[in-house]
């Protein structure tokens, strides 16, 4: 079979992709927007709304001979179906003819629309969707002038039905297209929405516990073709036509979700441009048209009251408000007088431009220690070698391909990857999840029986701390699984750091790289290594020379002067107080004060991602830029301007006029960023499906990508370098001794990190502090489920509730980061658990 077929749309022939449906084909090839409500290009067609009716004909054949029938003039005889057909459920075939503009078709659309409106409230003037509503748009084109429906017969239903904490359902507006139901089922894999009753009483319901609370719930409001689903964050906040869309990148995780910030000059923000909502921006290689709820609802920190807004300087032992000029001059003097004993620790929220300016400054004062924060994942050197090949698109993984996810919980760490990998499994890819505890993705790997979908998957449960040897010895210990992974056409391995020390995370990535190299899965698209590095720019840190190993070195041998940039050391590291006390001068630049102002000599307010431009490198090595959107908070500066300013003052280099200029210099200096000018980063191309155009009814309100699809840094393997296996005979793994347990910090998406706390809407979904412990270990510690326990590991001492469950293997305790005020260990470490017996209650 050929890859294309020829079809005729309204009298014109088009060559279209075989296997496509008529709606997609007509839109992509002929620019013919067949109206739809229920059909969505990211989901299976169901033909429910009947809006896409067309006249459909196929070449006739003689029944006896099977010969194609011809008219007198020799042309093929086209036989039309007596009734109109739904375009969304019809797959194109050679010679197919459709008519989309005949009176019969237009009448049918008008009738379907009138039917849909029979009980729709038409409350567009107060509807959040008004202005970008498929139903509104199609009503303008096909709707009746006046309703023939008796007004009294209109149904009066709930207008504000909370479908979850974040989403409201307006039952009057719902036209029952089931897009939200199918999104939850097909895309997310959490079928907590369904129809109830039938006919005119049909309603969307949830009867699950917990209900509609996935990390992706906001996407249903984008694909809802009417105003039935709205977010609690944005509803009644602004009208779509008042909003100015600014392309940006989600600041939360390694996925680098492309987002669009909907801006409006707002009274609530002193008349400055303010983020009213966050919408997805299409990037089929990165996040398709989906974003996580954290990206959508987590923008409030950019305007938080407790953000740093004024430069401060310690004079005479007291921290006092200062101004930039004085602070910069003082810092320049301090740095120059430090005899090169200067080091920097930069957080993974810093942009590439910031990091470059910081590095230039340090090099200028003769210092070279550049640390990355948090020092938990050390997979980056291997990602540089054998990361997923250039051009990788996780949505191309399917039958014949394989995915191994080890030592991480993608649902919590990089939800978009979890979403896309689960869909790869749905398409037939073989999914293996290995961890010391249950994770959401593991449920998909093993619960093929759920909903009786036939899926391929396996789970490996290993003892806490054993990830590296499991990966290294996969052939020996799990020969069948290893065999299937090796033989796969394409193989992606996702290696995390859960239950591992920093060195362990490096070793795991090395073992995974070995496997990929051995089985020949490197250097091509859809093959290679991924790692859920924390923050939006974990890989940018690596490419600019900031490493977690250096951070450990800085912690062991603190410098005289330490620059801390956008890293909340005291929140993350229980030992920070101690080692910071050995630093003479601390220069802290950031968004929030985590208590470091007690010690720091300079406190410098930085701008958030929303206030300035810059670029991040996502986990797939894609350099992506974000644009200035929101008005600035106080006197905050972008970090590149601050560090560039100090450099200029110290006579090291001139301050660049813009982030673009910094990037230009950077792209000329660091090989990985070669060619990554802002102009190159803002290049776009046409993507399938064509969302965000005039016909919002097709793909929903995800925005067209006008900000750039980014530029992927090639791996060593991509460039044809000879990547070598590393001998891994000796692997030092963490082992708990008698009476000890392996304390494994884990990441929860919703937590009490300073930047997430201001998003109050999500607050009630943040779990209370807990630790997951195996029943045997709990018994040994004399504790039961719900007890208050104290976990001690190194400098860390936290009190949390015990959650006793065999979801975790014996020997380990999963302790979520950032749920308590006290810092949990940075990485996995050996510790003890005991029941708290003193009567002092700890919240």
């Amino acid at each position: 079979m050929s890859d294309t077929v020829t079809i005729n749309i309204d009298g014109q022939n088009y060559e279209v992709a075989a296997g496509a449906n008529l709606v997609d084909a007509a839109k992509w090839h002929a620019g013919n927007d067949i109206p739809v409500f229920c059909y969505h290009p990211k989901m299976d067609p169901v033909g429910m709304c009947r809006m896409c009716l067309v006249e459909l004909g196929t070449p006739g054949r003689d029944r006896a001979t099977g010969e194609l029938l011809r008219n007198d003039d020799g042309s093929l005889q086209i036989r039309y179906f007596p009734k109109l057909q739904t375009a969304c459920t019809t797959t194109v075939s050679d010679g197919m003819h459709i008519k989309t503009n005949t009176q019969q078709v237009i009448d049918a659309r008008n009738d379907v629309l009138e039917f849909l409106l029979s009980s729709h409230p038409l409350d567009c003037p107060i509807c959040d969707k008004g202005g970008e509503c498929p139903l509104q748009n199609l009503t303008m084109r096909h709707g009746p002038q006046a309703s023939r429906m008796y007004f009294e017969d209109k149904q009066l239903l709930e207008k504000h039905y909370p479908l979850g904490d974040l989403i409201f359902l307006d039952r009057e507006r719902c036209i029952q297209c089931a897009r939200c139901v199918r999104f939850q089922d097909e895309v997310v894999g959490d079928d907590v929405l369904a129809f109830h009753e039938r006919g005119r009483r049909l309603q969307i319901i949830t009867h699950s516990d917990p209900g509609f609370d996935t990390y992706f719930s906001g996407n249903t409001t984008d694909i809802c073709p009417v105003g039935a689903l709205t977010t609690a964050d944005f509803r009644f906040g602004a009208r779509p036509w008042e909003l100015n869309e600014v392309p940006s990148i989600s600041p939360w995780d390694a996925a680098g979700e492309n987002i669009s910030l909907s801006m409006r000059l707002d009274r609530d923000f002193g008349g400055k441009a303010m983020i009213k909502r966050v919408m997805p921006r299409q990037n089929e290689w990165v996040n398709e048209i989906w974003i996580t709820d954290k990206a959508r609802f987590g923008h409030h920190f950019t305007r938080a009251e407790d953000r740093l807004q004024q430069p401060q300087m310690r004079t005479g032992g007291t921290l006092r408000n200062s101004n930039w000029e004085a602070a910069i001059a003082a810092m320049a003097a301090t740095l120059q007088g430090a005899d090169g004993d200067v080091a920097a620790i930069a957080g993974s929220g810093m942009s590439n431009e910031d990091l470059w300016a910081l590095r230039q400054l340090l090099e200028g004062v003769g210092a070279g220690r550049l640390g990355a924060w948090p020092p938990t994942h050390d997979a980056a050197p291997h990602l540089e070698q054998v990361g997923v090949g250039a051009g990788t698109n996780l949505s191309e993984l399917g039958r014949g391909d394989a995915i191994l996810v080890i030592a991480c919980d993608l649902e919590e760490e990089v939800p978009i990857w979890r979403l896309r990998l689960k869909q790869a499994q749905d398409r037939g890819a073989y999914l293996v999840v290995a961890n010391a505890r249950d994770t959401r993705l593991e449920d998909f790997a093993v619960q093929g029986a759920r909903n009786d979908k036939v899926v391929e998957g396996d789970a490996i449960r290993y003892a806490p701390g054993e990830a590296v040897s499991v990966m290294r010895d996969l052939q020996k210990a799990h020969p069948q699984i290893a065999e299937r992974l090796s033989r796969a056409e394409n193989l992606v391995i996702v290696a995390g750091a859960e239950g591992l020390s920093l060195a362990g995370s490096e070793a795991l990535a090395a073992a995974a790289a070995n496997f990929l190299i051995e089985s020949g899965h490197t250097g091509s698209a859809n093959n290679g290594l991924l790692s859920p590095l924390p923050g939006a720019n974990g890989l940018g840190l690596h490419y600019l020379g900031f490493t977690p190993q250096t951070t450990l070195n800085i912690m062991q041998e603190p410098p005289r002067v330490l620059i801390v940039a956008q890293a909340e050391l005291l929140d993350d590291d229980p030992a920070a107080q101690q080692w910071l006390s050995q630093v003479e001068t601390i220069i802290y630049a950031g968004l929030f004060d985590d208590g470091i102002s007690q010690r720091a000599d300079f406190i410098l307010p930085l701008q958030s991602f929303a206030e300035r431009d810059g670029s991040f490198v996502n986990g797939e090595r894609r350099v992506q830029r974000f644009y200035t959107a929101q008005g600035p908070m106080g006197q905050a500066l972008p970090a590149w301007k601050l560090f560039g300013g100090i450099s200029q003052n110290a006579g090291i280099a001139n301050l660049k006029p813009s982030a673009a200029a910094v990037m230009l210099e950077l792209s000329g200096s660091v090989a990985a960023f070669q060619g990554a000018s802002y102009r190159a980063l803002s290049r776009t191309e046409r993507q399938f499906p064509d969302v965000g155009g005039r016909d919002l009814y097709y793909g929903g309100t995800a925005y067209t990508n006008h900000g750039g699809i980014g530029l992927q840094i090639p791996t060593a393997a991509d460039r044809g370098a000879d990547v070598q296996r590393r001998d891994m005979a000796d692997v030092a793994e963490l082992r708990a001794g008698e009476g000890e347990l392996l304390i494994m910090p884990i990441t929860r998406l919703y937590n009490r990190q300073r930047s997430f706390r201001p998003s109050l809407l999500v607050e009630q979904r943040i779990l209370n502090p807990y630790a997951l412990i195996h029943p045997d270990d709990a018994a040994a510690a004399g504790t039961i489920d719900g007890d208050l326990i104290e976990i001690v590991a190194g400098e860390s001492k936290v009190r949390v509730r015990a959650s006793v469950s065999s979801e975790i293997a014996a020997g380990g305790v999963a302790l979520p980061r950032h749920l308590t005020d006290a810092a949990v260990p940075l990485s996995a470490s050996v510790g003890t658990v005991s029941r708290v017996t003193d009567a002092v209650a700890v919240r």
Partner: protein, 164 residues
Amino acid sequence: MAIIGNPKYEQRIERHLAKYETKRSAVMPLLYIAQEEYGWVNSDGIGEVAQILNLDPTQVKSIAGFYTMYSEKPKGKYWLQVCTDLPCALQGADDFHAWLKDELGVDEGGTTDDGLFTVEHVMCLAACDKAPMLQCNFRYVEELDQNKMRQLLAKWRSEANGRG
């Protein structure tokens, strides 16, 4: 009681599960069992069916909502569905239905105060030759008249009291 772990239903559930290629297909017969146990399709029953079939409760609820023979409201112990379609009506089923409601003191679809009887009218049950007729908990009771019905009600009452 419950369905899961109830010896009364164990074999029946097994039999239904064995009938279908995919587990979820057994959702409808299992919902009947839930309805039988609880008298209506309540949240507990939905949860148990979902657990047995490894489905999300929302999906089970959706099925129960679509089909009218699953009742999502509490019903009396004896659910009396009187056929009042045309052939039955010609045999006096309409009057019979009205009389029965009077006799029990309930409105259409209502349940007696003692929680024993629910009366509602239904479409054709395909027993036109035996009209007036009704089905009691999906079992046919045919060729009814007021006398016979009084006896039956008395019998059911004593049955219920005897056990209760």
